[in-house]
Symmetry: C2
Subunit: 355 residues, 2 copies
């Protein structure tokens, strides 16, 4: 790894092109529909035009989902309804095409890449080239990662974003799989939004009251360890995140540096996004929120990132990028109307009597 | 037209299969995801399985949009921001593929049929075989239709539903185009939900305050004419609807009779749906609401039909079926996950520790 790749600093984020957004707003008024009548679809289309720096925008032809898989030491302490072995089993399920992310990607016209960042098992060589370590430290009592590991994970996430953008991805989704990962997600969000554990901890994949109490205690203990490093996003990922979180945060930051829009998924990805905004200020201008999960921390993070309201309110809480993939066709619809509709002039349709 | 085709009575509506819904609920628990974690997508998928009478459900391969075009006499009285000639111009735009409905249908994998039910102009022969008349009476002062016309319009809507189902449509959308049509829509909804005009009238395609006052007065006058026939849905369509409304209501009723699910669009289609539920009680079990428009009457009708919450809250107010087409991919996503995901057993993934 070169010194440059190992540097956790990100290049500057340029905002989506405001001139092209204005051009898109003007074009919306010429399309054969009453002004503003496509509502939120118009705003999404205008944003994509600004991201692409062209109006009308191109249809999105290469949406790409990257699923970041990693285990978490905290899962040994009874914070999840599922055992850690499920992480590796689900990686195999992704590769076999049998998971929600696969079905949803086929439907939405996206392709799926799986990367093992920190699965606590040996996985298929097709997914392990960016592996940083097995699992992460139990963040209620120890750092998730060493200094070298957090830098390696950030380098991995950045490299993955670069690989995808260089391969032509025109919209990106980060997904995740990792038993126990809503616990560090909740810690990162509670830390960065200054929220008490009881107001942030949810039911994850479906835990009972006793597990909720254990999870809340773990979040409290991890928060105590996280607060001293709050001002340093790399240290925060090292102490209270994990290799998968560091890679996702870097992926989201680098996507913005590379001027590529991202559809943000659920609580775990949004936690990484909160840190990414610290790594690369302004990155959030390149993101749209897909859905609101029942995890209280998700709403806290969306609000903090000014990504409300999300596109959907479907009570989804699966992860894998499933919420973002479900919402992706809404972005396609927005782009299609802006790119393909006829103007009043082209179609010979009379305009509104006040214009 | 045979006596049978001219009979405004509808066959019985059989509810979507409750046994198949239960089978789908059971299957959801076997798929490789935490129980319930796909949230609303699971309920949509289960509903489609019940509609199809099979689990896992088939992917929806022939979604079909039928756009019902018709003019309204009330449009002469300053209730719209656009002149009536736009209805025929937009029919031409639909046929040329340049309207929102065309762009959205391409994106969502649907095909579009346009039918001129009552356009106040001569239209292309490809769309005029079900034409009932030119325009409809100005409902603030006269009946929209004669007895013969309302029966012909109902027969047209029913025949169109039959044609589409017989041609293999597996999910249907009614769309509409007609300058002035939010006025009769508001009258029908205010009448059937017992609402005062000021609480029901919205801005339609974007009218100013003076036009809003004219529209509210027209709704008030039409409501006075509608109330005596409230108990008779055919008479209500004749007095206060229009040929396009009668055809849409019949289309929606017949789709349910033919056991075909429908994604419901905005305020105009939902007004027709309110009447359709009177024509064929139980029809609403075959419908899902796509979005909530800013028209107050739309929310009134969705609530009355127990179709809340709609899938999207995007402030769309275009019509044409645009809201339903924007939401259609969400139904595809729901079906794809239920139909294509692997089970825990198939994938060798461990279940939750409490099961």
């Amino acid at each position: 790894m070169t010194a440059d790749a190992d540097n956790p600093e990100f290049g500057p984020v340029v905002a989506p092109d405001p001139g092209m957004r204005a051009a898109a707003e003007a074009r919306q008024l010429q399309l054969t529909k009453p002004p503003g009548s496509l509502g939120r679809l118009e705003r999404i289309g205008n944003w994509i035009a600004a991201c692409q720096g062209q109006c009308p925008p191109k249809l999105l032809e290469r949406p790409r989902v990257v699923v970041f898989a990693g285990d978490h030491g905290i899962a040994r302490h009874g914070v999840s309804a599922f055992p850690s072995e499920v992480t590796a089993q689900m990686v195999a399920n992704f590769l076999a095409g049998g998971a929600a992310v696969n079905a949803l990607a086929r439907t939405a016209g996206a392709t799926v890449r799986v990367v093992d960042i920190a699965v606590d098992a040996d996985t298929d060589e097709r997914v392990s080239d960016h592996k940083v370590r097995r699992s992460s430290g139990s963040i209620d009592r120890e750092d998730a990662l060493s200094e070298d590991e957090v830098r390696a994970a950030i380098a991995a996430g950045r490299a993955i974003a670069d690989e995808e953008v260089d391969s032509g991805a025109d919209i990106l989704i980060a997904g995740e799989m990792g038993i126990g990962n809503t616990t560090p997600a909740t810690v990162l969000i509670a830390a960065l939004t200054d929220t008490e554990p009881v107001a942030a901890v949810g039911r994850g994949t479906g835990i009972d009251d006793a597990a909720w109490c254990r999870k809340t205690a773990a979040v409290r203990d991890a928060l105590r360890r996280a607060r001293p490093v709050l001002a340093d996003p790399v240290a925060l990922l090292r102490v209270a995140g994990g290799a998968d979180f560091a890679a996702m945060a870097a992926f989201l930051a680098q996507a913005a540096v590379r001027r590529t829009p991202v559809v943000i998924d659920g609580v775990v990805v949004t936690a990484a996004a909160l840190v990414a905004e610290r790594l690369a200020p302004g990155a959030g201008d390149w993101w749209i929120a897909s859905h609101r999960s029942p995890e209280p921390a998700h709403s806290l993070a969306l609000k903090h990132l000014r990504l409300e309201p999300p596109l959907l309110e479907f009570e989804m809480r699966l992860g894998e990028g499933s919420g973002a993939l479900t919402a992706l066709p809404l972005v396609h619809a927005a782009v299609a109307t802006l790119a393909e509709m006829a103007t009043f002039g082209d179609a010979g349709v009379s305009g509104s009597s006040d214009t």
